[in-house]
């Protein structure tokens, strides 16, 4: 209850702070480009929830329109980058901004945009098939080091969950998984269930969905054994699963949902958009949406956001470049 009151107070404060900018920005509908198909993935849905929340609460007095550009991400992302920086064009993107650039699939990157705000994030997990008999992360890494290139790790090659898998194997000298193209959570799970994939890096939402029973406890019928969670603290959906840090590894891996604007967008619009997102995060509907996707609200803007992106780029770029050539 106290927490709710505080969030409500914060929300009103934010409302206040956005107040003055209100008069100038926005004067017309705000367009957000999603560089992939409508309805697909947590980050598209997050943007739709933002649209709904902002409309329901009349946060900025103007509606948000969402424009999905299908096909692989580079196509839509390039179009978004070249849009008019008039303060009404934005694009939503996640960690793939880094992996795509490092793999050479786009010849531009986050520095060619104006980073605006981070709304939320979800973190990855590492799981092993119960048939392998592996029960802890250390056992997994030991096995991967003792018998390199035998444990099959499902992934979308060259993409985020592949980069994640490589970073996990890098935690132990000589450990190597055999990466196989299975796609994201939805594509990997059938292969996992069929027993062909032994290791997977599901998102927290995927892990909750595949490993837990209706009562929220680990499902004995499920083939998925969760070994570690790459967030900063344990996830409330599976409180028994330790974090990598607890297990003695200095490793975190979360996928951020970021909003960008084309280079040259007025600062007023950037601040206005960030304020709008911060206000939306205090909304109950937004919170329950994030909960349902096993995501957490993680507001970040300004210089902190820039610094965090630089940090991620340094960590991810070399691995993503390796992933692209594997």
């Amino acid at each position: 209850m106290i927490r709710l009151t505080i969030t409500a107070m914060l929300a009103s404060l934010v409302g206040f702070a956005v107040g003055p900018a209100h008069a100038q920005w926005p004067e017309k509908p705000i367009k957000i480009t999603v560089p992939w198909k409508a309805g697909a993935g947590a980050v598209d849905q997050m943007t739709r929830q933002l649209q709904k929340t902002v409309a329901d609460n009349d946060t900025v007095g103007q509606p948000i329109t969402i424009f999905n550009i299908g096909g692989p991400i580079p196509i839509g992302l390039r179009q978004a980058k070249d849009q008019d920086p008039d303060g009404y064009n934005f694009v939503v993107m996640h960690t793939a901004m880094m992996t795509l650039q490092a793999a050479g699939k786009i010849d531009f990157g986050y520095r060619d945009f104006e980073p605006v705000v981070r709304l939320g994030q979800f973190c990855q997990t590492t799981s092993a098939h119960k048939d392998t008999g592996i029960e802890t992360l250390d056992e997994l890494l030991d096995r991967a080091a003792a018998e390199p290139n035998t444990l099959v790790h499902g992934a979308n090659l060259g993409a985020i969950n592949h980069v994640y898998g490589i970073m996990v194997e890098d935690l132990r000298d000589g450990a190597k998984f055999r990466f196989v193209q299975t796609g994201g959570d939805a594509g990997t799970y059938p292969e996992f269930k069929g027993g062909r994939v032994q290791v997977a890096g599901f998102s927290a939402a995927g892990a909750s969905n595949f490993a837990l029973g209706a009562d929220g406890m680990a499902d004995p019928e499920s083939p998925v054994r969760l070994l570690a969670y790459a967030g900063s603290e344990r996830h409330k959906n599976f409180p028994d699963v330790p974090t990598f840090v607890e297990l003695g590894y200095d490793f975190q891996f979360c996928v951020d949902g970021w909003y960008f604007a084309p280079k040259g967008t007025p600062q007023e619009a950037i601040d206005g958009f960030a304020g709008m997102v911060e206000a939306a995060l205090a909304d109950e509907g937004m919170q329950s949406f994030l909960d349902s996707k096993a995501m957490v609200g993680a507001f970040q803007a300004g210089s902190e956001l820039h610094a965090e992106m630089d940090r991620q780029w340094e960590a991810i770029a070399p691995v993503a470049a390796r992933a692209a050539t594997k």
């Binding site: 409508a38 059938p190 292969e191």
Partner: protein
């Protein structure tokens, strides 16, 4: 379960189903506009509905749209949606021969029965079926596709060489873009837009609908030949049912099963079942020239894939098709997590999906048959009015699929290619088969090789794969020898008639 189905009979629910199926049929019938697009566009409207009503509307649209495609496929030789491509091959010739009512009626009834079959599977054996589907290895998929791909030779329409050429051309078109296994960009020649490759909708609508628009436009001077409508044969008689029984059951089963397999799709389902029907037919030579079996096979199967695709969605939370992926999006917007848990956490939603699918199938059947008299008139509208409208729909539809102009250029380009190929006497059937199957074949073979670290022997030691590959080989030999015999007898006849 009964509750779930009865629940769909409230007036409010029925209105949603009616609206959904009707709009689905209309959108499905218009070349270029597809069901998944309709569903994606409706998605924001459902935010303000309850989860129950949202799923009702979307499922009804799904059922309507997959059926609507047969209308234009049959009457204009322009598939309303990619899944109806195989229907054009026989539906149009049959309609042209003065039996449009019959051609449509067969397609509609087959759609209905295919849908019902898949519903039975969905309502009764979802779980074991999905369990079975996840047991299949990538090599099994590959062998399955090989079985179908060799049949390109037999749909070539008399000229095996020409059939192979168009078949390979279809395969070639799948190569550019990000490759399905390694995620490596290939054959884009530096064009950023080509990263996405040539996509299914623009290619198929281009090859079939746009090429037909070109051909029709050139023939505009010649007098239109209005199709004589007679209601005769619109309803399948008991005798028809008996004749088509095996075909109906086989096609529905093929469709349902292909639907269950993630990432394979309705186009492959109808292509496969068409090939099997031709194989099992006593009159295979009629295929492509107005075969009733061909229409039945294609339509029963493409409708069955819808029900089939809902099976892994409900049992495992895995989308069986692109449209399913959007449905999952719709569910999560309403804070529902599709997956193995959905049955225990939100049983009412699951039974609602199953119930709605059932009711929508009947609504679809009634609407399609009831409106047959109206849409047969499409064929008497002067082409000078009809073609511009269809062209606009194709362009708008293909553009809005991904919101990129590149897809529109792709469609127009393939329209020209399709037109030229037909002019040169190439049959377009093998092109579709090559195109839709090569993608799956490549992805599965390479995925299989990754699993085995490059070892191909399991493909030849696994009993299921071996069986399918052997069948593929037999089919190849058999169809080539049949074709050869046919060509020889044709040549003999020609010689006799032209001889001194």
């Amino acid at each position: 379960m009964i509750d779930g189905i009865l629940g769909t009979f409230t007036l409010f629910q029925l209105t949603f189903i009616l609206v959904g199926v009707f709009s689905g049929i209309v959108v499905g019938a218009i070349p270029g506009l597809t069901g998944s697009m309709l569903i994606a566009l409706t998605l924001p409207l459902t935010f303000h509905m309850s989860a129950l009503h949202a799923t009702t509307l979307l499922i009804a649209m799904y059922v309507g749209s997959i059926t609507g495609g047969l209308i234009t496929a049959t009457l204009l030789r322009m598939p309303g949606s990619p899944a109806a491509v195989m229907t054009t091959l026989d539906g149009y010739p049959l309609a042209k021969s003065g039996q449009p009512g019959r051609a449509l009626g067969l397609g509609i009834t087959a759609s209905f029965i295919g849908s019902l079959f898949a519903w039975i599977a969905l309502a009764t054996i979802s779980e074991p079926l999905s369990e079975l589907a996840v047991k299949l290895t990538p090599f099994n998929y590959f062998a399955l596709v090989m079985m179908a791909i060799v049949l390109i030779a037999s749909v070539a329409g008399g000229d095996v060489i020409k059939g192979l050429v168009t078949g390979f051309l279809g395969m070639l078109v799948t190569f550019p873009g990000i490759d399905p296994s390694g995620g490596v960009v290939r054959l884009t020649f530096g064009t950023a837009d080509l990263i996405g490759g040539f996509k299914l909708l623009p290619v198929l609508i281009g090859i079939f609908a746009v090429s037909q628009i070109f051909a029709d436009a050139l023939n505009m001077r010649s007098k239109p030949e209005p199709l004589e409508f007679s209601g005769r044969g619109m309803f399948m008689s008991l005798r028809d049912m008996k004749v088509q029984a095996v075909n109906l059951v086989r096609s529905s089963l093929v469709g349902t099963f292909i639907g269950i397999l993630p990432g394979v799709g309705a186009s492959v389902g109808s292509a496969l079942s068409y090939l099997f029907a031709r194989l099992g037919s006593k009159t295979p030579e009629k295929f492509g020239k107005g075969s009733e079996e061909g229409i039945v096979a294609s339509e029963a199967a493409n409708n069955a894939t819808v029900g089939g695709a809902l099976i892994p969605l409900i049992a495992l939370g895995i989308p069986g098709s692109v449209t399913d992926a959007i449905l999952i999006g719709a569910l999560t917007i309403h804070s529902l997590q599709p997956g193995p848990l959905l049955f225990s956490t939100n049983p009412e939603i699951v039974w609602n999906v199953i119930g709605v699918y059932f009711v929508a199938t009947f609504v679809m059947f009634t609407l399609m048959l009831g409106l047959i008299r109206f849409y047969v008139r499409i064929s008497v509208i002067p082409k000078s009015y009809l073609l511009p409208v269809i062209t606009v729909c194709c362009v708008v539809g293909v553009y809005s699929l991904n919101n990129t102009m590149f897809d529109v250029w792709t469609m127009l380009g393939f329209g020209v290619i399709g037109f030229l190929l037909e002019r040169a006497g190439f049959n377009l059937g093998p092109f579709v088969i090559g195109y839709v199957l090569a993608k799956v074949a490549e992805a599965k073979l390479r995925q299989g090789l990754m699993f085995t670290d490059g070892d191909i022997t399991p493909l030849f030691t696994d009993p299921l794969s071996v069986a399918m590959l052997l069948i593929a080989l037999l089919l190849l030999v058999w169809s080539l020898s049949v074709e050869r015999r046919r060509t020889r007898s044709a040549t003999v006849k020609v010689n006799e008639s032209t001889g001194p």
